[in-house]
């Protein structure tokens, strides 16, 4: 029993860390994202120049990583809301699995789309 409890605490800690680090990365990216879309104010050509730059493989891969981080932060955030607001708490593992599932599904879907 104690081993089971330790493992559960461990996975919850990883969930916490990933939630925090993904949030931090998204917070750093957000001003850049807003600035980039703000290029539309300079006209369609300016926005197109920027979009052409983002079509490079390395940038595209980084964007894919950001979308996966967004999915991870979203899914892990839903986990936090469920733990805090829903009554029954004996389902940590299920929520973690669901968060991982959502993240992987979004990652795969976007990998196909990008």
């Amino acid at each position: 029993m104690s081993g089971d409890l330790r493992a559960r605490n461990h996975s919850a800690w990883w969930a916490f860390l990933l939630h925090r680090l993904s949030g931090l990365a998204l917070a750093l990216f957000l001003p850049l994202h807003f600035w980039a879309l703000g290029q539309a104010l300079q006209g369609e050509a300016a926005l197109d120049r920027l979009l052409a730059w983002t079509a490079q493989p390395l940038v595209k891969t980084a964007e894919w990583g950001l979308v996966v981080l967004l999915a991870a932060h979203f899914a892990l955030g839903l986990r936090v809301l469920a733990l805090e607001f829903l009554p029954w708490r004996n389902w940590h593992r299920t929520l973690l699995a669901a968060a991982a599932g959502v993240t992987i599904a979004v990652g795969l879907a976007l990998a196909l789309a990008l």
Partner: protein, 112 residues
């Protein structure tokens, strides 16, 4: 932070998270749809230009993020850097204003 202020911040973080959860689902679907055959300014602007629905959606999205991000960063600053108190609160508020301004500017940029 006073207990009352802490409760307000906690509620703001959860309420903004709930709004963001809905926005992120729509955003992820839009990304998958918009990028399926390469992203061009013409396509993007054709979708958003003069579209009040997208304007309202993205304005809500930006404002929720402007509430959510500074609170999260403030928590990280407090727990990992030990940066607390008045200066941290002021920095968080300034960041919220800057994100809201920059984000709404971008929203207007793709709408107008």
């Amino acid at each position: 932070m006073t207990p009352r202020a802490a409760v307000r911040v906690w509620i703001a973080q959860r309420a903004s998270a709930a709004v963001l959860a809905v926005c992120v689902i729509i955003h992820l679907i839009t990304i998958a749809y918009a990028t399926r055959s390469g992203l061009t300014a013409a396509e993007l602007l054709a979708r958003t230009h003069g579209n009040v629905g997208w304007l309202v959606f993205y304005a809500v999205f930006v404002l929720a993020a402007a509430v959510h991000v500074p609170i999260g960063l403030r928590t990280i600053a407090s727990e990992w850097l030990g940066w607390r108190g008045r200066s941290a609160a002021i920095a968080a508020h300034l960041l919220a204003l800057a994100l809201a301004a920059l984000g709404l500017r971008a929203v207007w940029g793709v709408f107008a």
